[in-house]
């Protein structure tokens, strides 16, 4: 009997003539969203395969030992956005994930002073008071306002955005819910919200505070991963994006994944495997195979083919539509929209192994402030100048750094008494004056950052045992993020909600039947959140008319 027509539909020939299995679904990319998506599909009983280009899983959610006995969270480094509903539902704690909250934070000032962001509210009040009594009090108004905005967005994280042009009952219902959430804010609240979603983080903070260093300390969240400056419209939302997560119900709190961010992907992978899913690494997808307008599987660069009627891409929209799909398989508007998708790279990162805990000027060596995010930009003006360099095609000479020492919290990432430092850097352009980065550029960029830290820590440079320097070039080449954009696409209003990645395709379905998207390039966007992956799984299961396995959001009151 010709096996091509054999009754066991699961059997097919691969190009080499070997019999390969046909899967129910293939997920391209073992980023945390791909793994989440696959886990939910497997949980519903589907036979799922994840194909990952790298020899390790996780994408930008990864732990790597690049210096012996040191674990680096070498892309993402802190955790807050990860949906607790998903963590619990996929039993990630049982599979080894623990997220440990931290507090503290400092912005070092050029004049030798500093702003210490104490975890205790009263202690923080006194610290702000030192800079401005009025700001100390205004901080409460600021907190309440940010909380209002997070309460608006959080219920939509685990929902598929409605298509505003659709007349389907489900879309109308979801649109009505969205409208209700907005109207509940009242007329003034609504006006504030619209302003908030479009204004700059600089303007937003200036409506609360007068102290430069306080504004600068808070403004960082508005530009992380973003090719915009503190005075660019839209950056207030990016700040919100960093406040909308929580650790155990404390909205806006952040934590470290014990063992590095790879613990998130490792737990997701174990959960997926517990549901019977498979992962193949070192499997570089060349193309999503399409026949008669339907996805049929994936072809790897090495010629291997895997077959399935459902193919899900965890890649960013540009890679998905311009790289691993044939233009001839796509409607013209999708190709155009993918080409116009905004995904500019703007960040770099240093991961540093330290022989001991560095001391910082003006900070007690045992200060709990160091158990948080540390920065060196003490005014909005300096932040804006850092952006000016990026616009001019160079990395910032005076960069914004989001620097943390996870080993002050996590005992597993370095030998006792030694430390690991993660330094996220804004800004680094995808191209240097229009040309590719060279190794010399990378090293000079690394030196800029190390020098900046050294300016505030006399013993820092002497403690460095190893440093990994990553520019947009490395992020693109190693993680597969186009231009090194950390969110798989910019988080501006034109690319959020029903516009993410582009209008008409915001419900995780691609233009080809059986083809879906599940990465950070879809709603609700970037960050280690697992929501895009879960939301996409819910849509796929709906199309397959299978029972939903994806949990709804906790009531957020």
């Amino acid at each position: 009997m010709d096996s091509r027509t054999c009754p066991w539909h699961a059997l097919r020939f691969d190009t080499g003539g070997h019999v390969v299995k046909k899967y129910d679904a293939i997920v391209i990319g073992a980023g945390h969203n791909g793994l989440t998506n696959a886990a939910y599909l497997a949980k519903s009983g589907l036979d799922v395969l994840v194909v990952e280009r790298n020899s390790y899983i996780g994408g930008a959610t990864v732990s790597r030992e690049l210096h012996k006995d040191w674990t680096y969270s070498n892309c993402s480094y802190v955790c807050s956005l990860l949906r607790p509903e998903i963590s619990r539902d996929l039993e990630l704690p049982r599979h080894g994930l623990q997220v440990v909250p931290y507090g503290g934070g400092i912005t070092f000032m050029e004049n030798g002073d500093q702003f210490g962001n104490f975890r205790d509210h009263e202690r923080q009040y006194r610290e702000i008071m030192r800079h401005s009594p009025r700001d100390a009090n205004a901080y409460d108004r600021y907190s309440a306002d940010v909380t209002k905005q997070t309460r608006l967005i959080r219920p939509f994280l685990l929902r598929t955005p409605p298509d505003p042009t659709s007349l389907k009952p489900r879309d109308l219902k979801e649109l009505a819910m969205l409208a209700r959430a907005f109207t509940e804010m009242g007329e003034e609240g609504l006006a504030d919200t619209l302003k908030f979603w479009t204004m700059s983080v600089g303007d937003y903070l200036e409506s609360f505070f007068e102290t430069d260093v306080l504004k600068a300390h808070l403004a960082g969240s508005g530009i992380i991963g973003t090719a915009l400056g503190v005075y660019s419209p839209g950056t207030a939302y990016v700040l919100l994006h960093h406040y909308m997560g929580d650790v155990d119900g404390t909205v806006g709190a952040w934590g470290f994944a014990r063992g590095g961010m790879g613990a998130v992907s490792a737990a997701l992978a174990k959960s997926l495997q517990a549901y019977g899913g498979e992962i193949v690494c070192a499997a570089n997808v060349d193309q999503i195979m399409v026949r008669n307008g339907r996805a049929t599987g994936v072809a790897l660069k090495d010629g291997t083919e895997y077959h399935a009627d459902i193919v899900v891409s965890n890649l960013d929209p540009k890679r998905t539509f311009l790289d691993i799909m044939a233009e001839s398989d796509l409607p013209e508007d999708v190709v155009n929209k993918a080409k116009n998708f905004k995904i500019r790279g703007s960040s770099g990162k240093l991961n540093i192994a330290l022989d001991g805990l560095p001391t910082f000027n003006g900070v007690h060596p045992d200060s709990t402030l160091m158990i948080g995010d540390m920065h060196f930009s003490d005014s909005l003006e300096r932040l804006e100048r850092a952006y000016d360099d990026w616009k001019a095609g160079a990395w910032s000479r005076d960069p914004y750094c989001d620097m943390l020492i996870p080993t002050l919290t996590d005992p597993t990432m370095a030998p006792p008494g030694k430390h690991m430092m993660t330094v996220f850097v804004q800004y680094a352009p995808p191209l240097i004056n229009g040309r590719e980065w060279t190794d010399e550029d990378r090293d000079a960029f690394g030196k800029t950052v190390i020098d900046q830290i050294g300016n505030y820590s006399p013993d820092f440079k002497d403690l460095i045992l190893h440093a990994e320097v990553r520019t947009p070039r490395e992020l693109e080449a190693e993680v597969g993020l186009t231009e090194g954009n950390i969110f798989q696409g910019e988080l501006t209003f034109d690319q959020l909600l029903f516009n993410r990645p582009f209008p008409g395709y915001a419900q995780y379905r691609g233009p080809v039947k059986g083809m879906y998207m599940c990465g950070s390039g879809t709603h609700p966007g970037g960050g280690v959140m697992a929501a895009p992956g879960a939301n996409a799984a819910r849509e796929i299961l709906m199309d397959l008319k299978r029972p939903n396995t994806v949990p709804g959001a906790y009531a957020d009151d």
Binding site: S87, Q98, V100, R119, P411, T412, P416
Partner: protein
């Protein structure tokens, strides 16, 4: 003029000078007449010290009895429900004891220190009952609560901290084992025990060496993120791992006034501690009868839907109230919403769905929530490191 002097109302533990210095929040509570900290700096971070590095809890106020004499083992076998002869020297056993009606008086840890030499640690005071029960036995019972200072050192780096302090070979100590070290020319006894469900140890020493022990421990533990913890963090950890607390999850039988308010070990899910192979022990007859006839209540573990802790909730089946929650928490490591409840025995089977009536308040607005919950067999936190020997270092 007559001179009248009295002691201060609250006592201080042998670690007080250090505890006080570390207690930045200045939040205090009382425990058996001693001043003890509720929290030092931040309950959440203290809880995570237990689960991620090392948390240190001053255990000194714990009631401790020394029970010795030729009949000590025989006596204890009469007192508690499990077979004490199976607890070897240098081992610790978790024990419970009941009144003659088979109602639970308390639970505790029994340290077998030498031949016919034991220490019983308990939450409640038991001198009266133990003295009654001692009739006819040749034993000496001494309350040594104030003569022994104790610290619980709990968490994944606890073995590393103590090893760094010079307690070599500690990693080989099995759960519920006892090992003795020399510290400042005196004996430091270490047991691999605790109330957190994690890797952890308890340290026992003469009070005059307490401060030195604290200082050395914290110096050695610095690189392992050692932190003092208060009672709030400990309470969260014990709920997450399913440990009962006398006075919270059951009323010690001797304290009950109203009929039907005490509970038996069966009702509290502790039947594994009742050994009917033993011919006599206090409460045996009543317990035997209950084991045949069935119990009225059952303490169950509940996995509660959503993220609102079911503290003090009524448990419902349809409109009918069938139980109440005794302990509840959102568990930060297990990431689950967990509760202990007393329910009518017929609603207690694993897998059974019940409803918790939860009340919570936001900005002075109360909401009533009927949350689905499921009876589960075990508490959500039970890591392998709790049992591993050699003990892991992080």
């Amino acid at each position: 003029m007559s001179e009248y002097r009295d002691e201060t109302m609250m006592l201080k533990t042998p670690f007080h000078s250090r505890v006080e210095a570390a207690n930045e929040l200045n939040e205090w509570d009382g425990w058996s007449g001693y001043t003890t900290p509720v929290a030092y700096t931040d309950v959440e971070l203290e809880y995570f010290a237990i689960r991620n590095s090392t948390g240190v809890f001053d255990l000194s106020p714990m009631t401790k009895y020394r029970i010795s004499g030729p009949d000590a083992e025989a006596y204890l076998n009469r007192l508690v429900t499990r077979d004490v002869s199976k607890i070897k020297i240098d081992r610790v056993g978790y024990v419970i004891w009941c009144d003659d009606e088979g109602q639970m008086m308390d639970d505790g840890t029994l340290f077998h220190l030498g031949k016919n030499d034991y220490r019983l640690c308990s939450y409640t005071r038991v001198m009266d009952w133990m003295s009654w029960a001692a009739m006819g036995f040749d034993v000496r019972i001494v309350d040594e609560t104030s003569e022994v200072a104790a610290l619980a050192v709990q968490g994944p780096t606890s073995c590393a901290c103590l090893s760094a302090m010079g307690l070599t070979g500690l990693e080989e100590l099995k759960p519920f084992g006892i090992k003795r070290f020399t510290f400042a020319d005196t004996e430091l006894m270490v047991s691999r025990t605790g109330f957190t469900g994690d890797l952890g140890y308890e340290l026992w020493i003469e009070p005059q060496h307490a401060e030195a022990l604290w200082d050395q421990l914290f110096a050695a533990g610095k690189h392992y993120m050692i932190k003092p913890i208060g009672s709030s963090a400990l309470d969260l950890a014990r709920i997450e791992t399913g440990f009962l607390q006398a006075g919270v999850d059951f009323v010690p039988a001797q304290d009950t006034v109203r009929i039907g308010r005490s509970r038996s070990p069966f009702e509290l899910g502790l039947s594994w501690l009742v050994d009917f192979e033993k011919p006599v022990f206090n409460g045996r007859k009543a317990l035997l009868k209950e084991s045949v006839e069935g119990s009225s209540y059952r303490l169950v573990f509940l996995d509660v839907e959503g993220n609102k802790p079911a503290a003090n909730s009524f448990i419902l089946v349809g409109p009918e109230q069938v139980g109440t929650v005794t302990s509840a928490a959102w568990c930060p490591t297990a990431k689950s919403n967990f509760a202990f409840a007393q329910v009518e025995a017929k609603y207690a089977e694993v897998g059974r769905e019940l409803i918790a009536e939860i009340y919570y308040q936001r900005e002075l607005h109360w909401t009533r929530l009927l949350a689905k919950c499921t009876v589960v067999a075990a508490a959500p936190f039970n890591p392998p490191r709790r049992r591993q020997t050699p003990a892991p270092m992080c």
